[in-house]
């Protein structure tokens, strides 16, 4: 059972991009196959970093403030809900204004839909679905005390976007050390390989081509020095 003081923590650095959160969100009884969260791939060309995007449940939600139809409501527990269907005019103001990129416009339903922190589950003592299944701990639901004990990262729930300061119910885990991580395999290779043509297979003194075979493949057993180098 969850406790009243349990909170939601997101650590994007732990995300492995598996989509378990998104797939499970759709399976939640009231969601009827439609996930209310999504996964962002940062830049697949540069790396495998991904991040789950769940609603941060701002104290003073920007999405609600910009809604011309007053369709987005925050309940007494601070949960910011999807747009109310009779009111939503599907103008997408909320989608454009949210500093975290959370709401999505469902064009065919003409409705903004977003994560409500699994109100139907938390109200009966269960953790939100995505945080229950997340296999890597990128999504965590529990007490602040516990997460501060088991993790080295620090929870942060105040963010600055230019002049705007946003405080949220959900915390992001961040590292105190600022590091620039090398994300290119090239950076981990031996220096001489970095300059090498990837197609030039006969590396200087490459010792194992001639003895490589365990079968009598003539292509492999022939004298490797005779194989031309592609330039």
């Amino acid at each position: 059972m969850i406790s009243q003081t349990d909170e939601f923590f997101v650590d994007a650095s732990r995300c492995i991009g598996c989509m378990a959160c998104v797939q499970a969100c759709g399976e939640c009884d009231t969601h009827r196959g439609k996930p209310m969260i999504h996964l962002e791939t940062i830049d697949r060309r540069s790396g495998v970093q991904t991040t789950p995007v769940i609603c941060m449940h701002c104290e003073d939600p920007t999405c609600a403030k910009v809604c011309p139809a007053d369709a987005i409501k925050q309940d007494d527990e601070g949960i910011v809900h999807s747009a109310a269907k009779p009111r939503c005019v599907s103008c997408s103001n909320c989608v454009l204004a949210c500093p975290f990129g959370v709401p999505k416009m469902e064009i065919e339903m003409q409705l903004m839909m977003k994560c409500d922190m699994c109100y139907d589950r938390t109200s009966v003592g269960k953790k939100p679905m995505c945080a229950t299944v997340c296999p890597s701990g990128a999504l965590y639901f529990g007490s602040r005390k516990t997460i501060e004990k088991i993790r080295q990262e620090i929870p942060v729930n105040e963010f600055r976007f230019g002049e705007q300061v946003v405080r949220t119910q959900v915390s992001l885990m961040t590292t105190t050390e600022k590091q620039s991580l090398e994300m290119d395999v090239m950076g981990f290779l031996a220096a001489d390989l970095k300059e090498e043509d990837p197609l030039s297979v006969i590396r200087k003194g490459a010792p194992d081509v001639a003895v490589a075979c365990i079968c009598d493949d003539p292509i492999i057993t022939e004298d490797s020095s005779q194989i031309p180098v592609i330039l």
Binding site: I16, M19, Q23, V185, L199, V201, P207, D208, A212
Partner: protein
């Protein structure tokens, strides 16, 4: 004989794969009658999960947070697996081949036809001309039954299983080094390690829930070393990343051992008192200086030294590996060499210290223990060992001479079919047309079969070639046990009955045996009776389950073998007494002289091709390619390549290119990423036909384990729209 009779589109139209997105009764909120606590049907982690059942239909899932291994965590495959059960493609009747493809048939006809064909082929060509292929996604009960059925009812030596494509290199090396084939530690030891070395395991995509175990080690201050030609999600945040050139794993280990021995980062006492053969290691690593190792592996010398320093000086450590080092013609050597790293430090058999191979298939561990391998009898016994043969012959009540000898391995069975030596085949839960290298030859082999019968729940690409299909059972439709990658035997309750006229697999096998005149050996009324017999058969063998029963497995969240008597609570961690499973109690070092892959790159095929998995698909995809949301997540194979290679060849992202090897050609879109070595490309293998990476791979086998070399072969990339250059006369 077994040529396809209608075109592919027609098979797909009738039998799928079609995409199922919603539960059978739609998304209306239904209250379940019951929640069944069971396990995922996919990888060797076997996460606990609860299936929601209403009126004997599975309508959804609910996390099961009490199961200690995953505590409710799941990957997308586990979340969506229930959509198989009420799937429109599900086979509900036996099928018999006819001019228009297949027709539904009664069980009587399917059985009669199969038994007649078995008898006809065996009377004309000999008993061994009929082969059996099993699978490691099935329960221990079925693995045991398959072995017994092949030996006593089919009387063939040619039985093997698809674990031959999976864990056999590790299994063989484990037996050679430790005398026992099991991961040495429970996964709960991972967070307690100061250094976790992950070799050739795309852990976060293939075993996602183990990710948190590894990262807990890091939260505790531990260091993670990842060895992989690709920067996989687990490699992204590791402390030391060694992107090894495909096929050079044992060279890299020799380089690391070289430094450890040079610096004295070895446990001399442990080596002296508990091992044999270290001198041979000393010899074989002698010439592997950091410079030479760098040259062969492409890993910077400084990082090789760093790895030796981290591993050598740790107080606690865990080494985990998977198919990345095993799928090679030197797969056994690679595993043995990694075991050398463990034995050199003596860090095994203690809390937070040890070793394990992560099994890829649902019952990758148990599926290889109970006698469905060509060289194995129940209880992990050796079919070539006279004592073992006698024990099992006595147990089964037959004479030793009636037990067939060692048969062919899975790939060799396919070869023998192609060569015309094997004429008939019964396969269960195996899709070799997708999963075995050189698929053009696999297809040619299937077309030569005189008779082919399949037991399966969906019609696989391989099954299209069959004469008879028996509609079998999905995991949730039967009761049984599986043994996870950590050696924990767990119970799977029966969630629902099979749909329509489909039957549970073991009843199909038992009836075939009955009709072959061997019913007295297969008189089982429920799967628990098979388990009881399996446990009794294993008594006194290397793999001893004899103290287990279903009730104990349920009560204790499973039991780790060995469990040799009913008062025994199982053995989560092996070797705590520093005693290894050899007569002298000592573990064995094996000095490894590095051999490269069977096919090296050359001027015509200058790029390494490696293959593997994606998180949303499972093995040959016969289950997961039918689940809409999983297919949408990664719909078709892509060829990962580094921008440096792509730029050199003028290939753009998403451009369809031609990948060519000596076996075949494949058209596939390029995915340009910096997360792979520039001399290597990667294609995942879950798809059939023209999308199959196994059109390209090389069917050469490790001489000991007979695993094929999925992880490295030579290829070239061609732009499709480039005209071949014309010779200009000078």
């Amino acid at each position: 004989m077994a040529h396809l009779v209608i075109n592919e589109e027609d098979y797909i139209r009738r039998y799928g794969p079609s995409l199922n997105y919603t539960p059978e009764s739609g998304w209306k909120t239904e209250q379940a009658d019951r929640l069944v606590k069971t396990h995922c049907c996919f990888c060797g982690v076997q996460c606990g999960i609860q299936l929601k059942v209403k009126n004997d239909r599975i309508i959804g899932f609910e996390p099961w947070e009490e199961f200690p291994v995953n505590q409710g965590k799941l990957c997308p495959k586990g979340i969506k697996r229930y959509l198989q059960n009420e799937h429109p493609d599900r086979l509900k009747n036996p099928l018999i081949r006819c001019e228009s493809g297949f027709r539904s048939a009664e069980w009587e006809e399917a059985m009669e036809r199969t038994v007649t064909a078995i008898q006809s082929i065996q009377s004309r060509y000999g008993k061994d001309a009929f082969a059996f292929l099993g699978g490691a996604s099935m329960t221990n009960e079925k693995a045991y039954l398959n072995g017994k059925f092949a030996r006593l009812a089919l009387e063939t030596s040619n039985i093997d299983y698809n674990g031959r494509l999976c864990m056999v290199s590790a299994g063989a090396a484990n037996k050679m080094a430790f005398g026992i084939d099991r991961s040495a530690n429970p996964w709960s030891d991972i967070p307690k390690a100061e250094v976790v070395l992950l070799a050739g395991t795309n852990l976060s995509e293939c075993f996602p829930v183990l990710t948190e175990h590894v990262w807990k080690a890091r939260d505790n201050g531990g260091k993670i070393i990842v060895i992989d030609p690709r920067m996989t999600p687990i490699a992204r945040t590791c402390d030391l990343f060694l992107p090894v050139r495909p096929g050079t794993d044992s060279a890299l280990v020799n380089g690391i051992l070289h430094i450890m021995i040079l610096e004295g980062w070895v446990d001399e006492d442990f080596i002296r008192n508990h091992t044999n053969g270290f001198d041979r290691v000393r010899e074989s690593v002698h010439s592997w200086t950091p410079a030479r190792t760098q040259q062969v592996t492409g890993v910077p010398a400084a990082n090789i030294v760093k790895a030796a320093e981290l591993w050598g000086n740790a107080r606690t450590s865990i080494l985990l590996h998977a198919r990345g080092i095993e799928h090679h013609t030197n797969g056994v050597d690679n595993v043995l060499n990694y075991i050398n790293l463990v034995l050199t430090t003596g860090r095994i058999g203690r809390e937070g210290c040890g070793y394990g191979t992560i099994t890829g298939q649902g019952n990758g561990q148990g599926g290889r223990e109970h006698g469905q391998r060509c060289n194995q009898l129940p209880g992990g016994r050796d079919i070539n060992d006279a004592k073992h043969r006698n024990e099992i012959a006595d147990f089964w009540g037959v004479s030793e001479s009636e037990l067939p000898g060692e048969g062919l391995t899975a790939c060799e069975i396919i070869d023998a079919i192609e060569d015309g030596k094997i004429k008939g085949l019964l396969s269960i839960s195996f899709n070799p047309l997708v999963s075995i290298p050189d698929s053009r030859r696999t297809k040619a082999a299937l077309e030569k079969l005189e008779f082919f019968a399949c037991i399966d729940f969906f019609l696989s690409e391989t099954g299209r070639h069959a004469d008879v299909i028996f509609a079998g059972s999905l995991q949730a439709e039967d009761e049984g046990t599986v043994t996870t990658g950590e050696g924990r035997c767990i119970h799977l309750p029966n969630s629902i009955p099979p749909p329509g006229n489909a039957r549970v697999d073991w009843k199909i096998i038992c009836e075939l045996a009955e009709r072959l005149g061997k019913g007295q050996f297969f008189d089982f009324r429920k799967s628990e009776e098979i388990f009881t017999e399996l446990c009794a058969a294993s008594k006194g063998g290397p793999i001893d389950y004899s103290g287990m029963n279903y009730q104990k497995l349920e009560e204790d969240f499973g039991i780790f073998w060995p469990c040799p008597n009913s008062n025994h609570s199982g053995t989560p961690r092996l070797f705590e007494d520093r005693c290894f499973f050899f007569p002298d109690g000592k573990a064995r070092f094996h000095g490894i002289d590095h051999r490269g892959p069977a096919e090296e790159v050359d001027a015509d095929y200058p790029i390494y091709l490696t293959t593997g998995r994606v998180v949303s698909q499972y093995l040959s995809g016969n289950q997961t390619r039918r689940i809409g949301d999983l297919v949408d997540q990664y719909p078709k194979p892509l060829c990962e390549m580094h921008p440096k290679l792509a730029d050199r060849l003028g290939i753009l992202d998403a451009e369809e290119i031609r990948v060519v090897t000596r076996r075949g050609t494949m058209l596939v879109p390029a995915q340009i990423v910096r997360t792979i070595r520039p001399d290597t490309v990667f294609i995942p293998y879950h798809w059939p036909g023209k999308q199959s990476a196994n059109q390209l791979t090389n069917r050469v086998l490790d001489p000991i384990s007979k695993i094929p070399e999925f992880k490295v072969c030579a290829c070239r990339l061609e732009k499709i729209h480039d005209e071949p250059k014309k010779e200009v006369p000078s």
